[in-house]
């Protein structure tokens, strides 16, 4: 335990919720809200797990995931993607790019916690 | 006809030239002649205009003469 999670998300209330859930479980939660600079933040914080929203201002979550997978130093990082659109073609696209796990909003608190734990362990 | 009218008028208006130089024509006769020709031309022109564009022709700019240089 005591590992780092980077949460890339732009809705302040959702950030608040996830931060609460993960901190209570002993995670250090870093957050970032802007799509453009998200990948720099990844390089900078070197988290153990990334939670990534699809709809972000400046750059879409898919593009950020592509950047992560393209860079050798971050290619193996576990990434959990969240989307509110809930269309199957989004899930397919994410899988194709190489997402570790995919979750549709709204999620249950236990599910997201379990997913993060599982990703950190693998 | 419409095109001949000014030619006719021109010829009639040039008549004073024939006898004019000598000055033997009476000026009052000449005066009556000129104004008489003038009045006749006006009447002819009025009749022609009436024929070419009858009152209340709906189509403005129609070309009843069939071409008109």
């Amino acid at each position: 335990m005591g590992k780092d999670v980077l949460l890339i998300e732009d809705e302040p209330n959702i950030i608040e919720a996830i931060r609460f859930i993960l901190s209570r479980d002993g995670w250090s939660v870093y957050t970032h809200s802007d799509g453009q600079t998200a990948f720099d933040k990844v390089l900078q914080t070197r988290p153990d797990v990334i939670i990534l929203d699809v709809m972000l201002p400046g750059k879409s979550g898919f593009d950020i995931l592509r950047d992560i997978r393209a860079d050798a130093s971050t290619a193996d990082l576990p990434v959990l993607m969240l989307t509110a659109k809930g269309q199957t073609k989004d899930r397919e696209l994410a899988t194709q790019i190489g997402v570790s796990q995919f979750m549709t909003k709204p999620f249950s608190n236990t599910d997201i916690l379990a997913s993060v734990r599982e990703l950190a362990a693998s | 006809m419409a095109r001949l009218l000014p030619v006719l008028g021109l010829l009639l208006f040039l008549v004073p030239l024939l006898g004019g130089r000598g000055g033997n024509a009476q000026i009052s006769t000449l005066l009556v002649y000129l104004f008489g020709v003038w009045a006749l031309l006006i009447v002819f022109a009025a009749i022609l205009a009436r024929q070419l564009y009858p009152a209340d022709t709906p189509d403005q700019g129609a070309d009843p003469d069939g071409g008109g240089e």
Binding site: E11, N13, I14, E16, A17, I18, F20, I21, R24, M55, L56, P57, A84, K85, G86, Q87, K105, P106, F107, S108, N109 | A2, R3, L5, P6, V7, G9, L10, F13, L14, P16, L17, G20, G23, Q26, I27, S28, L30, L31, L34, F35, W38, L41, I42, V43, F44, A45, A46, L48, A49, R50, L52, Y53, T57, Q60, G61, D65, G67, G68, E69
Partner: protein
């Protein structure tokens, strides 16, 4: 005795009456009640500007000096008018189809829209007309002096120069007021024309009154009159055949080429059929005007003291016989003749000067041209006003310089001969396809030079401009170059001599140079348009389908035609092409049409240059050249049909393409809509679910945390509700099931309340609002709550999306008939053209990333509300930022 003050008072009253007439006519025309203002009668009477003070006073003097010869000045116009079918009709038709604004514009337009020719003709007209204006000033001041002299107990002689100055100033004011009130696309001046028609009646009545008095009151009937004529010195007046023919020709030419005649005959013509009436009515008018000239001259010569000025017999005969009322009427007649000529001539000249000299200069100085700087209309109007003033100042100066000495008739003839130099280029342009720009310029310059040398300059007298030695022996002793005996031809009358040589050399140069070269493509096109005006009903072509940006053209057109007119022109054109919105395809046909509209305001050459600057070329396409080449009627007919078909096809294709684009766009939108609605619903639900779970299973929360989290749940629930409300609202509006609550309200208060609701009235608000509260003060009956909702939406949008460093929102209100238009214009970068068509669709948020904003339903709701209120909302391109126009009916009427 009528004293000076009374005479001045009568003058002022009369002028005030004319003002009133012009004012009422203008008002009626603006209200759309043109009716009798544009009748054949008014048209015919307006042609009477031909009869100036020269006719009114000068004809009698002319008859007293040279017998019957004066009548030639009226026989020429009579012949032209009764032969209207031959040339005048063509001139008027061309004037209408090409939107010609002056004779300079006609020549310039015919010869490939060449502005050089426009400038030459303008200069010629100014030089030729100035002495004539001086002549009018002189006649008015002389007539004042007659009354002064007649008063034996005597009011002092008025200062003639001061009188002339007052008259010139008054005329300038009148002309500026009614001649440059609007920049009409047709250049028609209802007020002025009506006033001129009234003056025409006054001068006719006055001259007939004096004539009847002389024949029956003095001579005692027709027979005694005729015998007195035969006994008079007129009977022995020398009869000069050369002058008889020459002057008839000259006066016939004047009808075509005098700038003021062109103005009333062609530019102010409302309907080609009026020409048919004028063809006999105007000769009749001239007939009546000249009927009593000889009797008045004869009685004047025998009854007036020797040495009396025969030019003023019309006034002095009734005065000397104590008929003061009649004399005053005659005075007003002369006054009318002078003023009407000056007014029309200065309008015509100012149009030429502003369109052919000021505007082109301005365009060149601007470099970049029409798209850059401010309102061109103001510039044009100002240029016209200044030109009017300048023309009158020139006339006044000429009057002072010549000292008002020369006999009236001689100035008139010199003037006629000057402007007649345009005739070869004009008639050649109307009837001969081979006439070229160079030919026209050569003819004009040669004719102008010969006229100057042989008639105009010598008219100042030996030693004034040309030395006596030069006049007698020719320059440097070359005798065949003597100004009044060119090529050794002596014994001719000076006027006839000058007219003969200037016209012969002018025509020769015109033909020789035209035959020696080929007309350019633009000249050929315009030539075909002019010569075959009755066969081609379509307008001149000339614009290749080019890269003109409709939006740039719109910006320029707004500056010249004014925003309302330009917008409606573009809207109409777009609709005819089957397109929505304000921006039509820049097809050659559209460019032609735009250019013609602009030409009505600034002249053909300038309009061509302005459009050329934006389109980026002024060449002629291959199709256009082929259109010129294929001229036989057969081919023309077929091609017209084909053109109509292909036009139809391309319109259908354009419609289809647009429909297809829209469908594709809609299908993409549909997908986006589903994603969007899913996103909009799931996002608040995510927070709600997460926090409610937190609240459920955590007992360890502090009271503060608990309160905070339940607050978030509450806010997100409200956000969800609002979204659902909007969706419901929209679907109700779309199905037209909404019940509207019409009530009376004030537009200004509505805008006030909308601004308050969006927080724009708070002091620290970054968005600056510009509005004109006075123009917003309008009552209207509508659903005020719904309308306010639209305003709030537009203001909130400007706040959210205007990307200027210092955002400014301008709110403009104006009345358009039964509708009010409210424009919301911000100073941001606006909405890209490709998106303008879809912003009113549901969920069409332009940037894909949602900021904290709404769900993209705002404008869609606005559109539905406005449709339900009987109005509309549209995007207004070309305003420099994002601009929306809301149109609301003044009174909401329930849809039937």
């Amino acid at each position: 005795m009528i004293d000076f003050n009374l005479l001045v008072a009568i003058c002022i009253l009369y002028v005030a009456f004319l003002f009133l007439v012009a004012f009422i006519a203008e008002r009626r025309a603006n209200a759309g009640q043109v009716g009798w203002l544009r009748s054949p009668l008014v048209y015919t009477l307006s042609l009477s500007v031909y009869c100036t003070a020269w006719t009114f006073y000068g004809a009698v003097g002319y008859a007293a000096r040279s017998g019957l010869e004066f009548v030639t000045i009226y026989l020429g116009p009579t012949l032209v008018l009764i032969g209207w079918w031959w040339a005048l009709r063509k001139l008027v038709r061309i004037g209408k189809t090409q939107r010609i604004t002056s004779i300079a514009d006609l020549i310039s337009s015919r010869y490939g829209k060449s502005n050089t020719l426009g400038v030459i003709v303008t200069l010629l007209a100014v030089v030729g007309t100035t002495p004539y204006i001086a002549l009018q000033l002189q006649s008015v001041t002389l007539s004042f002096a007659v009354f002064a002299r007649a008063g034996a107990d005597g009011w002092p002689m008025p200062d003639l120069n001061a009188t002339a100055l007052w008259v010139a100033g008054g005329l300038a004011v009148f002309t500026v007021l009614f001649g440059t009130r609007n920049l009409d696309t047709n250049e028609q001046h209802h007020g002025v024309v009506t006033a001129i028609a009234v003056e025409a009646v006054v001068k006719l009545v006055a001259l007939l009154g004096v004539g009847l008095f002389v024949v029956w009151g003095v001579a005692g009937g027709i027979d005694p009159m005729l015998s007195r004529i035969s006994d008079s010195p007129l009977a022995t007046a020398p009869f000069n055949g050369g002058r008889w023919v020459g002057l008839t020709f000259l006066s016939a030419a004047a009808i075509f080429t005098l700038p003021r005649m062109f103005q009333v005959l062609v530019v102010e013509n409302a309907d080609e059929r009026h020409l048919a009436t004028a063809s006999w009515a105007f000769p009749l008018y001239l007939f009546l005007m000249s009927l009593f000239v000889v009797p008045i001259a004869v009685i004047g010569l025998s009854d007036m003291p020797a040495g009396a000025n025969p030019d003023l017999f019309v006034l002095t005969i009734p005065l000397s016989l104590g008929k003061e009322g009649l004399a005053t009427l005659a005075f007003l007649g002369g006054f009318s003749s002078a003023t009407s000529m000056v007014i029309v001539a200065s309008i015509a000249l100012s149009t030429m000067v502003s369109n052919h000299i000021v505007m082109p200069l301005w365009l060149r100085l601007q470099g970049q041209g029409a798209t850059v700087s401010g309102d061109v209309r103001k510039l044009v109007l100002r240029a016209r006003r200044i030109s009017i003033g300048a023309v009158l100042v020139l006339g006044y100066l000429y009057y002072r310089l010549t000292g008002g000495s020369a006999a009236l008739a001689s100035i008139g003839l010199i003037s006629f001969a000057g402007v007649a130099q345009v005739l070869p280029a004009l008639l050649g342009g109307l009837f001969w396809r081979g006439a070229t720009r160079r030919g026209a310029a050569a003819g004009l310059l040669v004719g102008f030079a010969v006229w100057l040398y042989s008639l105009f300059l010598p008219s100042f007298g030996a030693g004034a401009v040309l030395s006596a030695d030069l006049l007698a022996n020719g320059p440097a002793g070359v005798s065949w170059l003597r100004p009044q005996a060119l090529f050794g031809v002596t014994g001719m009358d000076p006027v006839v001599h000058a007219v003969f040589w200037s016209m012969v050399l002018n025509t020769f140069a015109f033909f020789a140079v035209s035959l020696g070269g080929f007309p350019g493509p633009m000249e050929r096109l315009q030539g075909a348009q002019f010569v075959n005006v009755f066969e081609h009903s379509s307008a001149a072509r000339g614009w290749a389908h080019g890269g003109a940006e409709a939006e740039d053209l719109m910006m320029m057109a707004q500056r010249i035609l004014g925003p309302d007119e330009a917008q409606s022109l573009f809207l109409r054109a777009a609709q005819e092409q089957g397109k929505g919105g304000y921006l039509p395809e820049t097809t050659p046909a559209f460019l032609e049409r735009l250019e013609r509209e602009l030409a009505g305001s600034v002249g053909a050459a300038t309009a061509h240059a302005m459009v050329g600057q934006i389109v980026g070329r002024s060449s002629v396409s291959v199709e256009d050249l082929m259109a010129v080449a294929d001229e036989t009627a057969q081919i023309l007919e077929t091609s017209v049909r084909l053109e109509a078909q292909s036009e139809e096809l391309s319109r259908t294709a354009r419609q289809l393409q647009e429909a297809n684009e829209k469908l594709t766009e809609l299908s993409v939108q549909k997908d986006a809509f589903l994603s969007q609605i899913s996103h909009e619903l799931r996002t608040p639900m995510t927070s709600i679910r997460a926090f409610s779970e937190i609240l459920m299973d955590a007992d360890a929360l502090s009271g503060g945390e608990r309160g905070k989290y339940s607050g978030i749940i509450h806010d997100e629930a409200i956000r969800l509700t609002r979204l659902l409300d909007d969706l419901l609202d929209l679907s109700v509006l779309e199905r037209g099931q909404v019940t509207l609550d019409a009530q009376e309200g004030n537009l200004r208060e509505l805008i006030d309340r909308a601004l308050t609701a969006t927080g724009a009235t708070e002091g620290d608000d970054p968005l600056i609002i510009r509005r004109d509260r006075a123009s917003e003060n309008m009552q209207l009956v509508t659903d005020t709550d719904r309308l306010r909702q639209v305003f709030i939406n537009l203001i909130a949008n400007a706040r959210k999306y205007c990307d200027a460093a210092q955002p400014v929102l301008r709110i403009d209100v104006r009345r358009q008939g039964d509708m009010i238009a409210v424009d919301f214009v911000d100073n941001g970068s606006g909405i890209p053209k490709k998106s303008q068509a879809i912003i009113f669709e549901k969920f069409s948020r332009l940037s894909d990333q949602s900021s904290a904003g709404g769900a993209g339903l705002g404008l869609a709701i606005c559109r539905e509300i406005m449709a339900n209120l009987g109005g509309s909302i549209s995007y207004l391109p070309g305003q420099g930022g994002a601009a929306f126009r809301v149109r609301i009916p003044l009174v909401y009427a329930k849809a039937a």
